[in-house]
């Protein structure tokens, strides 16, 4: 689809060699989130002790939940002679302590650089250990390639590839179901997607599903591995699905779980944008209608009605406002779509990712915009700040993860916190971004942030706004 507006990714880039205030984390982090979304599974990093500890801290500070990640804990000797022995001992110890049904192993920069052959190491481990041991899956996540989002998507694909068995249905009673691969979304988003499936009367295999494992109840006993997650049985059955839906316009050229299932098992793959805002959510419900043969349940049609009504109520507050949108690429595309349909101009859309598809995806979802949008991928926060200064961009707010707190403070505008990670507020896991209901919450949040600013930034102190 060609865009009548100017969406450019060709702004003159200052030749910075270094990355300054990164707008991304490393690939294994995304993989550990995916492994945490499998029932009975424990994430395991093949590498140094520090990787596991740092990623635990990063994830804990967002979800405020326990996040146990085991590690093979490399030493100097393992780096020289290979980490097979450490891996073996680590897997044994994790098995005896946690009794997982699956261990999800991700590599790190260190183990990838020294060329650990995970396939043969795990083959060797399986050969010499008890047949009753946990299922092992692994994913290559060299930290020098891609971002946490790539690690996430690669892990989704690796798990599906390694567990998929043709002709297995999750239960005798279920003959028709869908696979749904949502990408890196919040726990609340995952709960919402399950609700949608239930309301459509269509069973789904939602993967990953950390809606309970990373947002669980208060307990009187510590759960070694929290309840919840996509079951191994349903992951084995993914080739029997009627179709796969995956979210993410920027996935394009990437080999994904859905594209694998299509190529190998002829499961039709439907790729749509992250359903944020009316347009993108319409596309999701249209896909659900088509695949289930059912009309969108009244509950969601009513939510859509209320959302559009709210857009009308609030349109004056938003028209012509200008925002910087940044974060994971598909989140940026979804937010840009949502904002532009409310009248906000996402003047600068930026991401640390570099799928190569960001500009085109933004162009696709902002066709009705009359103002120019600059899209920048593979950037860091200092580059974003320089871009704003260079172009003398005037913006009203910044929207994205908490990592832009410094940027927003320097610009003197509010930061609306969405996506991942949110390290300086509570409840990041409970933000609903998806569906009409998610858009409703985002809309109210954006409007009220601007109204609050208006109320607080003058001496009048309006009683009605």
């Amino acid at each position: 689809m060609s865009s009548p507006i100017r969406v450019t990714n060709r702004a003159p880039r200052p030749n910075w060699v270094s990355t300054r205030n990164p707008c991304k984390a490393c690939a294994p982090l995304g993989a550990t989130l995916v492994m945490r979304g499998i029932a009975g599974a424990l994430p395991f990093l093949h590498g140094s002790q520090g990787c596991a500890t740092y990623m635990r801290r990063y994830i804990i500070s967002h979800f405020r939940e326990p996040m146990d990640i085991a590690t093979s804990g490399f030493s100097e000797a393992s780096t020289i002679f290979g980490g097979g022995a450490n891996l073996h001992q680590g897997l044994d110890n994790v098995t005896s302590q946690y009794h997982p049904t699956l261990i999800g192993i991700a590599t790190t920069c260190l183990t990838e650089t020294i060329g650990e052959d995970m396939h043969s190491l795990l083959h060797e481990y399986r050969r010499t250990s008890a047949a009753t041991g946990p299922q092992l899956v692994h994913v290559a996540t060299p930290s020098y390639s891609g971002t946490h989002v790539d690690g996430f998507n690669d892990a989704v694909r690796a798990v599906v590839e390694q567990l998929a068995e043709p002709g297995v249905s999750p239960s005798a009673y279920v003959s028709t179901f869908l696979n749904l691969f949502p990408g890196l979304v919040s726990a609340e988003d995952l709960r919402f997607l399950k609700e949608v499936a239930t309301e459509f009367g269509m069973p789904i295999t939602l993967f990953p599903d950390y809606s309970e494992t990373l947002d669980g109840p208060s307990m009187d006993k510590y759960e070694k591995i929290p309840d919840g997650g996509t079951t191994i049985a349903s992951l084995r059955a993914t080739p029997s699905a009627k179709a796969s839906i995956e979210f993410g316009r920027t996935l394009r050229a990437k080999k994904t779980a859905a594209s694998f299932l299509q190529e190998k098992f002829e499961v039709p793959a439907k790729r749509i944008g992250l359903p944020i805002g009316v347009q993108e959510t319409d596309a999701f419900f249209a896909a659900m209608e088509k695949l289930t043969g059912h009309k969108t349940p009244a509950k969601f049609r009513e939510e859509r009605g209320r959302l559009v009504d709210a857009y009308v109520d609030g349109h004056k507050y938003l028209f012509g406002k200008r925002a910087i949108v940044f974060g994971d690429e598909d989140m940026v595309v979804g937010l840009a779509s949502f904002l532009s349909e409310t009248g906000v101009v996402p003047v600068l859309c930026a991401s640390g990712g570099k799928s190569g598809a960001l500009a085109r995806s933004i162009a696709e979802v902002t066709t009705h915009l009359r103002e120019p949008v600059t899209v920048r991928d593979n950037v860091d926060f200092m580059t974003i700040a320089e871009e704003v200064a260079l172009k003398e961009l005037k913006v009203d707010f910044v929207i994205g993860s908490s990592k832009a707190a410094k940027l927003a403070r320097e610009l003197g505008v509010p930061l609306i916190r969405v996506g991942f990670p949110i390290h300086d507020r509570i409840g990041g896991q409970r933000i609903l971004h998806l569906g009409y209901r998610g858009a409703q919450q985002l809309f109210d949040l954006v409007v009220n942030t601007l109204l609050e600013l208006k109320q607080d930034s003058n001496s009048i102190g309006y009683s009605y706004l």
Binding site: S18, Q49, T53, G73, N93, C109
Partner: protein
């Protein structure tokens, strides 16, 4: 009773139940144990991070820089260069071809842009593996830019956090002794091992100023390169956080003959003892008198306030899990001061002497653990029916998940916990953690029954 991982049995000790005291420690973490420890890089990064006018660049793939960006308070009274995250962000082709050129270019552009007083280059896991000569690049840039550019050899797998501390101290040693010390008083000290996470260094500096002691440098809280250059001029090194800084203190003693003493600024008793120890070192009656007056003043101010908290907290049970064991000593005393009992105490990196001292300090039945993990810690909390758990951010969700109060005594604290005012803050936070009404709603206290809350 806790399910202790095979190979770790000797790293957990219960006072009173074992006749002879012995605990294994200073060992590599057992593979697969989900240790709460970090790595060599972490050790170096935490020590050097608070030097506010230096450039800190992480050489390696992006993760290590992302995860340590603005990670702890480390407040500054001036420049805030340390709060920015710089990385060479090595990519696949750099791994193949080597990262030296990229490091050189990154250093040059960042030094030009930010005009730092020095630069620290943290070598992470793969740097050595791909064969980069970081020392050579640093030397070259240092010559060209005229500032110290120091390689910190902190490859994550090359040992434990303690090795990272050592690498950081070695980098600092290259800076000390490079500026004149003519105006340094004979009654002067360096403050070693406070990181000013929530303004503690400023409070402590103020105490020393009131005593009449000149503080030459703070290593590294609110740290300045020019001060550290002159650190060899101080008459005494006062070392807190002995785990990270003893190596530096010993080297300064060897090279410059500066003696050192160990102190702790946490808790009323340890804080006062620290100040008296410094005053006594200088054998100056007037200084001792000033110190006595100051301590009296401070105590008269805070003791009545503390006693109110003590009444409420009497008999409550605490668990402690911290990085260095030295901090644990002070916490046990401080909690006792609040009428509380420590029923479990552990650390990531304590040594035999530390644990022996903890054993002497603690009551019968106390669990002492080295390099523990979430499963053990959670079982200790359950077994001992703990009221408040004191640790760092990775321990927090363990306590919270079980409906147990938690107090961050590590990177994420926002209130100063050192000194007299800090003891008051600590008491306030423990009180707020233990006495919150939310616990009575948790399953641990009342089950999952949906009955009307009484």
């Amino acid at each position: 009773m806790a399910d202790i991982l095979r190979g770790r049995e000797r790293q957990v000790y219960r006072k009173g139940q074992q006749q002879t005291f012995s605990i294994d420690c200073e060992k590599q973490s057992v593979a697969g144990s989900v240790s709460q420890r970090a790595c060599v890089f972490c050790g170096s990064r935490v020590v050097l991070y608070p030097i506010v006018d230096a450039l800190h660049i992480v050489h390696g793939p992006i993760g290590c820089a992302s995860y340590t960006w603005d990670i702890r308070g480390a407040l500054s009274s001036g420049p805030e260069l340390h709060r920015l995250s710089f990385s060479t962000d090595l990519q696949e082709m750099d791994v193949v071809r080597g990262g030296e050129k990229k490091l050189y270019a990154a250093l040059c552009e960042l030094i030009d842009a930010h005009q730092p007083k020095a630069a620290f280059v943290y070598a992470t896991c793969i740097v050595g593996v791909i064969g980069d000569d970081v020392d050579a690049v640093c030397k070259k840039v240092s010559m060209e830019k005229g500032i110290p550019v120091l390689a910190v050899h902190s490859e994550g797998f090359k040992g434990t956090k303690k090795d990272g501390y050592r690498a950081a101290c070695d980098a600092l040693l290259q800076i000390v002794g490079t500026a004149p010390i003519d105006d340094v008083s004979p009654m002067s000290i360096n403050i070693l091992g406070d990181f000013n996470l929530a303004g503690e260094t400023w409070m402590i500096r103020d105490y020393y100023a009131r005593m009449g002691v000149q503080v030459v440098s703070c290593i590294t809280g609110d740290g300045r390169i020019d001060d550290i250059r002159r650190a060899h001029g101080a008459a005494l090194n006062v070392v807190q956080c002995s785990g990270s800084m003893t190596h530096l203190a010993k080297e300064l003693e060897r090279k410059y003959g500066t003696p050192f003493i160990r102190v702790s600024y946490f808790g009323v008793e340890d804080m006062s003892k620290s100040l008296y120890d410094v005053a006594r070192h200088f054998k100056n009656q007037e200084m001792l008198k000033r110190t006595q007056n100051m301590v009296r003043e401070e105590l008269e101010r805070i003791l009545p306030l503390l006693s109110e908290y003590r009444t409420a907290l009497q008999g409550k049970r605490a668990a402690i899990y911290v990085g260095g064991a030295f901090k644990a000593f002070s916490l046990v005393s401080a909690l006792r001061h609040l009428g509380m009992t420590t029923v479990m105490v552990g650390s990531q990196t304590g040594n035999k002497d530390d644990y022996e001292q903890l054993r002497e300090l603690c009551d019968e039945g106390t669990i002492i653990a080295d390099d523990s993990n979430p499963l053990e810690l959670s079982s200790f909390l359950e077994e001992k029916d703990v009221d408040v758990f004191i640790g760092g951010v990775k321990e927090r969700p363990i306590a919270y998940k079980l409906g147990i109060g938690f107090c961050d005594h590590n990177h994420e604290r926002k209130e100063a916990l050192a000194g007299y005012e800090g003891m008051l803050n600590f008491a306030r936070e423990v009180y707020g953690s233990v006495m919150s009404p939310v616990w009575r709603l948790t399953p641990r206290k009342r089950g999952n029954m949906l009955e009307v809350v009484k």
